[in-house]
């Protein structure tokens, strides 16, 4: 049996489209509906009816501005830190590791063998009062006797940086590794010193990796709530924590849905601006 050629692409697209429709479009539509509901008068906890209350969005946003701002600030810090750590790492693996290349790559991915949650809890122990970090820093008088590391913004940002580091490293490595070494040699032949060659040749050629890595880090970091829940305090809550508590503790589905949409929209706008600025043509 043969298919007319025109239909083949559609048939190939079908499984993906069906998946997206069932697990993305439908839930999104449902979420959109929920976001404009209001509580049933005299109803019980968790009973809502559709009233197209778009005011939900304004209330949800204005009441949680602080957590929104914090999410984007923390995610930005974590992204910049991850880039600062991952770039030299990916560079070393791509150009200097020689026969250890594969082992190093496995080590970058190795943390994924254990659960995200367990690793974050492990950090809580490491940074805790009876871990080795705090007593060490105290005896060196780097931090005061009363200063603690867990339950601070620093711990949350550090946790996010750590957890998303592989997402930054792998795309960077992929684009660095693809650079033809002869282009760097050519830069040398044209009298560029090491720094200039790096700045004018390596960095521009690795930009697709930088853009992909920052997106893969920033987007999940902005919506993350695990790090703030485990390593933070009530004063470092992010928007993910608010959404979680609205859903499961207060049973306020409309506000949780409105917050989710606002977060998605905010991320979409930021990402669009970012890609516009860096240019997409070079990405592929």
């Amino acid at each position: 049996m043969t298919f007319p050629k025109v239909r083949v692409p559609y048939l190939l697209l079908f499984p993906g489209f069906a998946f997206l429709f069932t697990f993305f479009i439908l839930p999104i539509v449902n979420l959109a509906q929920t976001s404009t509901q209001t509580p049933v008068k005299g109803g019980d906890t968790g009973q809502y009816e559709q009233k197209f209350a778009f005011g939900n969005y304004i209330t949800a946003f204005t009441e949680n501005r602080e957590q929104f701002a914090r999410s984007f600030i923390f995610a930005s810090f974590a992204t910049v830190l991850a880039l600062a750590i991952a770039y030299p790492l990916a560079y070393a693996i791509a150009f200097k590791a020689g026969k250890f290349k594969n082992i190093l790559l496995v080590l970058v991915v190795a943390p994924f063998f254990t659960s995200f949650l367990l690793r974050t809890i492990a950090w809580k122990q490491i940074l805790g009062e009876e871990g080795f970090v705090v007593p060490g820093l105290r005896s060196l008088h780097i931090i005061g006797q009363q200063t603690t590391l867990t339950s601070t913004s620093i711990a949350v940002v550090a946790g996010m940086t750590y957890n998303f580091l592989p997402f930054m490293t792998l795309p960077l490595y992929a684009s660095l590794e693809r650079i033809d070494p002869r282009t760097i040699e050519a830069a040398g032949d044209l009298y560029a010193n090491g720094i200039t060659a790096f700045r004018r040749v390596t960095v521009p050629l690795s930009m697709p990796g930088v853009v992909a890595g920052t997106l893969l880090t920033f987007i999940p970091a902005a919506g993350d709530y695990v790090n703030a829940a485990i390593l933070g305090s009530p004063n470092t809550k992010m928007i993910g924590n608010v959404i979680e508590s609205r859903y499961f503790k207060i049973v306020d589905y409309p506000t949780a849905a409105a917050l989710s949409f606002t977060l998605m929209a905010a991320i979409l706008i930021l990402v669009t601006l970012y890609i516009r600025k860096t240019g997409t043509e070079e990405l592929v």
């Binding site: 509580p39 109803g43 019980d44 906890t45 968790g46 957590q67 809890i121 809580k124 122990q125 805790g128 009062e129 009876e130 871990g131 009363q146 603690t148 867990t150 339950s151 305090s233 009530p234 004063n235 470092t236 809550k237 924590n241 608010v242 979680e244 508590s245 609205r246 499961f248 503790k249 207060i250 049973v251 306020d252």
Partner: protein
């Protein structure tokens, strides 16, 4: 081991037993794994509720368990005695989550797969309000009279017609003995300078705010919205001023062991297990101004069949037998709701007979209070305020 002598009887009993609730928690990779296994095992079989079966959904690790045989001794005895098959599911992990899972079926009157469920007081109140439960046939539950007086008439079910307490949970102060050599018995002692920034309170609103309200001299069985909001503001102030480090569920135990917390508002059973594992480093007390007591309740969903209901009643009645209740209490270390279990404990774990925390005396019971039930509006509004105070 030298320290063992200074341990409370509860702690010593835990050290002595082969396996404690927390040992299972720590050893099996936690609640998740056990719950997951239980859920897997139950998935297919939970659908069929025949005339000889009773299906019970309970919180994880909340029933005596023999690690060697991988069976629940009291439940095994129940099956031998009655000829019924009990299917036990440890998949009641969270009140709201469980409610969300079964609510649609309850509304439609379709079988939810359980003949007995175990919601906490406030959630039990919601089930009752919505008509999602069935009244017990008194003739099938004669042991009902064994319920402790202090638990016999909660506001949501004044005559205990549809619910009976499974275990009672005391909330009060827990502390690190080295940092608080004199103990923590009042709110002022909790917020003492040595604990600044190292205090953790419970996410369970009725326990944390309940303890604060009691310290402010307010009767939590009649608390008003103003009084409640006032106590929430008190907590919010303590958070923003850096006194309270976190508002947490069971994880407060980790903070105590890691030294990140030195004083907490916590649960009795947890504190004794923690103390036993750390050579008596921690202690627990009911605050001078009183502590809260809440319960998880055995209830029959409205969707249980007539046979399922009858079998459920047989099961509930069985666990209200003092000897059986004592066996469970010796394992879980929470407040035993059954009269006569104390005498029965003599044979099972004599060192626990005089434990104030499993068998509170009348004097102790009078210091424990039940948070009043809330209307749906209050529930939403109050928990919203409580969440906001935690930065959510």
């Amino acid at each position: 081991m030298a320290n063992e002598r200074s341990l409370s009887p509860e702690a010593r009993s835990i050290l002595g037993t082969q396996i404690s609730r927390r040992a299972v928690l720590a050893g099996a990779g936690g609640l998740g794994a056990a719950g997951f296994l239980a859920a897997c095992g139950g998935g297919s079989s939970s659908a069929g509720g025949d005339s000889k079966t009773v299906r019970w959904g309970n919180w994880p690790l909340y029933l005596d368990f023999d690690a060697k045989t991988k069976k629940y001794p009291t439940l095994e005895k129940f099956m031998t005695q009655t000829g019924l098959t009990a299917k036990y599911f440890e998949d009641y992990n969270d009140n709201d989550e469980f409610f969300g899972k079964v609510q649609a079926q309850l509304k439609l009157g379709e079988d939810i797969g359980y003949d007995v469920v175990t919601p906490t007081d406030w959630m039990a109140a919601r089930w009752l309000r919505l008509g999602y439960t069935q009244k017990f046939d008194a003739a099938n539950v004669p042991n009902k009279v064994n319920i402790l007086d202090s638990l016999a008439s909660p506001s949501y079910d004044p005559n205990r017609e549809s619910s009976l307490t499974w275990q009672g949970i005391m909330a009060g102060f827990g502390w690190n003995v080295e940092k608080n050599p004199k103990g923590v018995h009042t709110l002022d002692e909790l917020f003492a300078p040595q604990n600044k920034g190292k205090i953790v309170v419970l996410t369970e609103m009725r326990d944390t705010i309940g303890v604060i309200l009691l310290a402010q001299g307010i009767d939590i069985t009649k608390v008003t919205e103003d009084q409640f909001m006032n106590a929430v503001d008190f907590m919010a102030k303590k958070i923003s001023d850096g006194w309270i480090r976190g508002v947490k569920g069971n994880e407060y135990a980790q903070d105590l062991t890691s030294g990140d917390a030195t004083a907490v508002i916590g649960w009795s059973g947890d504190m004794f297990i923690l103390s036993s594992e750390n050579e008596g480093k921690f202690d627990f007390a009911i605050p001078e101004s009183g502590g809260t007591i809440s319960g998880d309740n055995l209830m029959i969903p409205s969707t249980a069949s007539a046979d399922g209901k009858k079998n459920a009643e047989t099961l509930i009645n069985y666990y209200y037998d003092p000897a059986v209740a004592a066996e469970v209490a010796a394992y879980v270390n929470y407040v035993c709701p059954v009269k006569g279990a104390q005498a029965a404990m003599e044979k099972i774990a004599p060192e626990l007979v005089n434990s104030e925390y499993i068998f509170p005396t009348t004097k102790t019971s009078s210091r424990l209070h039940i948070f009043r039930s809330l209307t749906p509006d209050e529930e939403t509004k109050w928990s919203e305020a409580f969440q906001k105070a935690q930065g959510n």
